[in-house]
């Protein structure tokens, strides 16, 4: 199963469903003389080469016998255009989900990576490419949680310390180096660091235009996150009115592509086409993103990311190579050495950005605003309908004036509401529906009513403040719960409680489902087993896994693993105590630098750690212009201090390196702005999908 398989098929209540008709219009490029066969009976004949001919039916028999004649007797048969459907067409449509999947599986899969590596081995100097692999932090968290869970279940005696993403990264590097021959393996957090910087810049640009008012302000705010390709695909297909609001900044995956091919490649003496860049992502839709036309380099005929595989596919590769990720590798607990050489292209690893496990887009803006503000700003948060929809407000301490309102919004259902809310607030609506067509008549009524309701949006501040930013992700729980992540490992084999009638058992509460549907999915998409392997560790320890994507408890564990700190001992009690200390709306003022003091906490109380540790408390209020959201206890251990110091160093390193990358890539002359657009921004395109003519009667 590929292409959002987890997102598109059966049994979830929160995903984007496939449409049933192919949206690719059949285009006839060269028009034939139309009268030719009018009224006459014609047939379509396929010759041995697979070409299609339209022929008068009398000639059909003859032509069938000797297809070679067709070429000679062009007058008898008219060669028809062959319909061409590219991968991009299919990905944008998902109308025929299974065929799109099979194309996708062959074009971007672990098997493709193996094929490339094999052929690259025997390649000549001319054609040899440099293989590079980039792995996102969410797959590392998924693997770490999976390893920890299976270690716990296999040795019931003592609770082993949890495996950290840092350890997993080292082990994946070892696997790539020793089993695959990929020497260059990075995580994507430095690319994210660049993306977040660009993202801030774009937010400031939009804010400035929004301030101007009038036409320039149209479609500027709220800025909507663009890192989730599932959301982008959905918006392009179903909500083109949202496209102006979506951030133009490239996702970390694509920034990583630029970084690897344009910057590191150049430093190492490789042109972009001489680098083969594989990325490991928590999400099937990242394959779609990588294959977007905007990320294709025409000059070198190559893509920024050549092949995207999911966490599950990476694990499958390990299984096929007989690699046991549970085995420690030498030096996996060592601290990362900072590159001292100014010319080095080494990247800082596993930079943690405070906020969410889906990229911290919202929190990076909040911190930025707090940092830049001349007056102290108070941050407060409010969980809306569920933990996946949370509002964040920045108010001026004292006056209470609202200066910023943002939200994180995960999952298809919440996404619907944000789309409606933004559409309503900003006066954009899809023109597609009946309301649009009725604008002349009933539409006037709508306006009248709304006016009567008194919902003008021009007053600043207060409760009516409109959103400035929304961190939109299509998956409930965000990227740690991406469709490409490993399946949950359940601590105990489940009692098969669910009978045919669907008796609710515990699994209903947790959202864990169902062997019954699994088989259904398997039937729909044969290659499923190849793409969604059970984890190696799980198989070895005999853990039963009849759970599936969407298990909330499991998502929490992956989230917890995501925030585990790197090279030192995993962050344990300290973080817990801090959180409890910070509960009940305690305000902690900090004078230190922004966001680099302690373990970045997840965004708000809804995130896994907050919820698991802090209990059912209200959203914390953290104030102070420094934006110090965290809580250094007086009894902080020296290990914690060391961690903090290291984190500060890493952030400084990242900042310095980011400056250098920008300078080297974009230059500092007149073209700098243009180059920045080219390397760090992208565009979106509404997909035309009027399938009205294809609709069935009922």
């Amino acid at each position: 199963m590929a292409f959002s398989g987890a997102l598109t098929l059966t049994d979830l209540n929160d995903f984007i469903s496939p449409s049933q008709a192919c949206i690719k219009p059949v285009e006839q490029a060269d028009k034939k003389p139309e009268e030719k066969y009018v009224g006459a009976k014609t047939e379509i004949v396929v010759d041995s080469s697979g070409s299609y001919y339209e022929v008068a039916s009398e000639g059909a028999v003859q032509l069938n016998n000797t297809s070679a004649q067709i070429d000679n007797e062009g007058s008898t048969g008219t060669k028809l255009e062959q319909a061409q459907i590219s991968l991009n067409d299919c990905l944008a449509c998902s109308g025929c989900i299974t065929s799109a999947e099979s194309i996708l599986i062959t074009l971007q899969s672990h098997a493709e990576v193996f094929t490339f590596l094999d052929s690259n081995k025997d390649a000549t100097e001319d054609t040899k490419k440099l293989p590079v692999l980039s792995i996102a932090p969410q797959p590392l968290a998924s693997l770490a949680a999976s390893l920890t869970a299976s270690a716990c279940s296999s040795s019931s005696s003592s609770a082993a310390p949890p495996i950290t993403p840092h350890q997993v990264l080292r082990r994946v590097q070892a696997f790539c180096r020793e089993a695959l021959g990929i020497a260059h393996v990075f995580d994507t957090t430095f690319a994210r660091h660049l993306a977040l910087r660009e993202h801030l810049l774009e937010f400031e640009e939009r804010k400035a235009k929004d301030k101007l008012g009038g036409e320039a302000a149209q479609g500027q705010l709220p800025m909507l996150a663009s890192a989730c390709p599932g959301w982008i695909c959905y918006a392009e297909k179903a909500h083109s009115e949202m496209l102006p609001f979506i951030s133009r900044t490239k996702s970390p995956q694509q920034v990583m592509g630029t970084l690897v091919k344009e910057w590191m490649g150049k430093h190492a003496g490789f042109t972009p086409d001489k680098v083969y860049h594989v990325s490991v992502m928590p999400c099937y839709d990242k394959k779609l993103e990588a294959s977007r036309q905007d990320f294709y380099n025409d000059v070198y005929s190559t893509r920024d990311v050549d092949c995207v595989i999911t966490t599950g596919e990476l694990e499958l590769m390990m299984r096929e190579k007989g690699w046991d990720l549970a085995q420690p590798v030498p030096g996996e607990l060592d601290e990362e050495a900072e590159a001292v050489n100014a010319e080095s292209t080494a990247l800082p690893e596993l930079i943690q950005h405070a906020g969410s496990s889906s990229g911290s887009y919202l929190m990076s803006i909040i911190e930025h605003l707090q940092r830049e503000s001349a007056v102290p700003l108070t941050l407060s948060s409010k969980i809306m309908r569920n933990a996946d929809y949370e509002e964040f407000t920045l108010t001026v301490a004292g006056s209470g004036k609202t200066v910023f309102k943002g939200a994180k919004c995960y999952g298809f259902r919440n996404l619907q509401n944000v789309v409606r809310k933004v559409g309503r607030e900003r006066g954009v609506r899809t023109a597609g529906g009946a309301a649009g067509r009725l604008a002349g008549r009933a539409g006037a009524g709508v306006g009248r009513r709304l006016k009567k309701a008194g919902g003008g949006g021009d007053e600043d501040g207060g409760k009516d403040k409109q959103y400035d930013y929304v961190e939109v992700m299509a998956c409930p729980g965000g990227c740690v719960n991406g469709g490409g992540q490993l399946k949950p490992i359940l601590p105990k084999p489940q009692e098969s409680g669910a009978d045919e009638e669907g008796y609710p058992r515990d699994w209903v509460q947790t959202g864990v489902v169902l062997p019954e549907n699994e088989t259904e999915m398997g039937a729909t998409t044969a290659p499923r087993a190849d793409v969604d392997p059970p984890s190696v560790a799980a198989i070895e320890s005999g853990v039963v896994m009849n759970a599936k994507w969407g298990d909330k408890d499991w998502t929490r564990r992956v989230e917890a693993a995501y925030w585990l700190d790197g090279s030192l001992e995993p962050m344990g009690q300290a973080g817990v105590q801090c959180d409890e200390e910070g509960s009940g709306g305690a305000e902690i003022k900090m004078n230190g630098g922004p966001h680099d003091l302690d373990a970045p906490p997840p965004l708000g109380p809804s995130a896994a750690r907050g919820r698991a540790m802090g209990g059912g408390r209200e959203g914390p209020t953290v104030s102070g212009r420094a934006g110090g959201r965290v809580n250094v206890k007086s009894d902080a251990t020296s290990a914690e201090r060391r961690r903090s110091a290291q984190r500060i160093r890493k952030k400084r390193w990242a900042e310095k390196l980011a400056d250098r990358v920008l300078k080297e890539l974009c230059g500092s002359d007149d073209d700098a702005v243009k180059n920045r657009q080219r390397f760090f921004r992208t565009e979106y395109h509404a997909v035309e999908s009027d399938v009205g003519g294809l609709a069935v009667k009922w």
């Binding site: 259902r413 409606r420 008549r441 009513r449 045919e500 058992r505």
Partner: protein, 384 residues
């Protein structure tokens, strides 16, 4: 008129016809109004005397539903949208506290019905729409296999509460429990699914009713809320009940240890009982497209069930609980009316929900007509 059974079906009125097949109708629960919709792309609002058409969507309107207040009409259209319609209030009219004129004078005020909102989200034809008993939730379903649940908010605004993709095929109908927040949906995949809200989470499907051998076209809860009737392309109407299981496994409709209990949100999510089929009505000769369960006017039993479909015959059943301890029901056919719309398929049958009119129902058919009927005791059989 080939009356059969203890009662007879009396034609009361023919409403002005649609120009294409009439799909569905809905009685306004408060006012003397019937809304009917059609492939002719209109919704027609009819009082018991006059009617007026409203031009609507550019596509067929497949289903209509009134909010419990009777003030709002929801339409499910093949343009994939749900439309929300309200009557424009006359400027001089003060109707703010929402007192309802039961005499129906207000039902056809002069105010024009206008579209005050559109619920977009379905990708393909929307097939059915329904308000919950309190009017705070709205459900819709579509050929895109999804069921959507919306919360009704002030100022014609709606918030999406859930997108349920449980069915493997086209979803044909949705129906809310008469007083609990339990939703049922029927589908081309031959199943019925029941949903409740998990307060700490999202809506989810807590059970699937399997038994029909073809498309489930229509579902109706009994007025008491303990039973669910479904009409199917397999020519049957089936009745289902929530029964607390005293013994596990192998429980079927004949199992006397089971006891029918009112389903509630709590019992549904805790799963201390199960849904079982308690009756199969197989006297229709063709697909059954619609089923409606009214209170009946005999003051006892579970009320009257009306069914109609491809064979053109309206059938009315009196449903009583078994006198022994069996949970099986044995509904009695008390009246039938063949060729209700001539040779045409009957697409919808619906009881009047208003007090004092429990013996009146309406039908909509492929000939575009909407007819009103009353159930009278047959002369020879006497009352009940």
């Amino acid at each position: 008129m080939a009356a059969q059974g203890t009662h007879e079906v009396q034609p009361l009125a023919d409403l002005e016809s649609h120009s294409d097949r009439a799909w569905n109708l809905a009685w306004n629960p408060k006012h003397p109004l019937i809304a009917s919709c059609s492939a002719d792309k209109t919704v027609r609002l009819s009082s018991y005397a006059s009617s007026s058409g409203n031009t609507l969507a550019p596509k067929t309107v497949r289903a209509v539903a009134w909010s419990p207040s009777g003030k709002t009409l929801a339409t499910a259209s093949f343009d994939s949208n749900v439309g929300i319609w309200e009557q424009e209030q006359d400027e001089d009219e003060d109707d703010e506290d929402g007192d309802v004129d039961m005499t129906g004078q207000k039902g056809l005020g002069n105010g024009e019905w206008e579209c005050i909102g559109t619920l977009e989200g379905h990708e393909t034809e929307c097939k059915s729409v329904a308000y919950s008993s309190t009017g705070t939730l709205l459900a819709s379903c579509s050929r895109d296999k999804s069921v959507w649940i919306w919360e009704v908010q002030p100022d014609a605004e709606f918030e999406c509460m859930g997108v349920l993709l449980e069915h493997s095929q086209d979803v044909k109908c949705v129906a809310w429990h008469p007083h609990e927040e339990i939703l049922a949906s029927g589908s081309y995949d031959d199943t019925i699914k029941l949903y409740v809200d998990d307060p700490s989470d999202d809506w989810y499907c807590f059970t699937t009713l399997k038994g029909h051998e073809s498309t489930v076209w229509s579902i109706a809860w009994s007025p008491c809320g303990r039973y669910l009737a479904s009409a199917s392309d397999d020519k049957t109407v089936r009745i289902w009940a929530y029964a607390a299981a005293a013994s596990d496994g192998g429980a079927d409709s004949k199992n006397k240890v089971l006891q029918v209990k009112p389903p509630s949100v709590i019992s549904s999510s805790q799963g201390d009982g199960r849904w079982v089929q308690v009756a199969v009505l197989d006297s229709h000769e063709r697909s059954v497209y619609s089923v409606s369960w009214g209170k009946g006017n005999n003051g006892s039993g579970l009320g009257w069930l009306a069914s109609a479909g491809g064979d053109g015959t309206i059938r009315v059943w009196d449903v009583q609980e078994s006198e022994d301890s069996s949970i099986a029901l044995n509904p009695k056919l008390i009246a039938s009316y063949p060729e209700a719309h001539g040779v045409f398929d009957v697409n919808c049958v619906s009881w009047n929900p208003r007090a004092g009119m429990e013996d009146v129902f309406a039908t909509a058919a492929d000939d575009g007509s909407v007819k009103i009927w009353r159930i009278n005791p047959s002369k020879e059989a006497g009352s009940d």
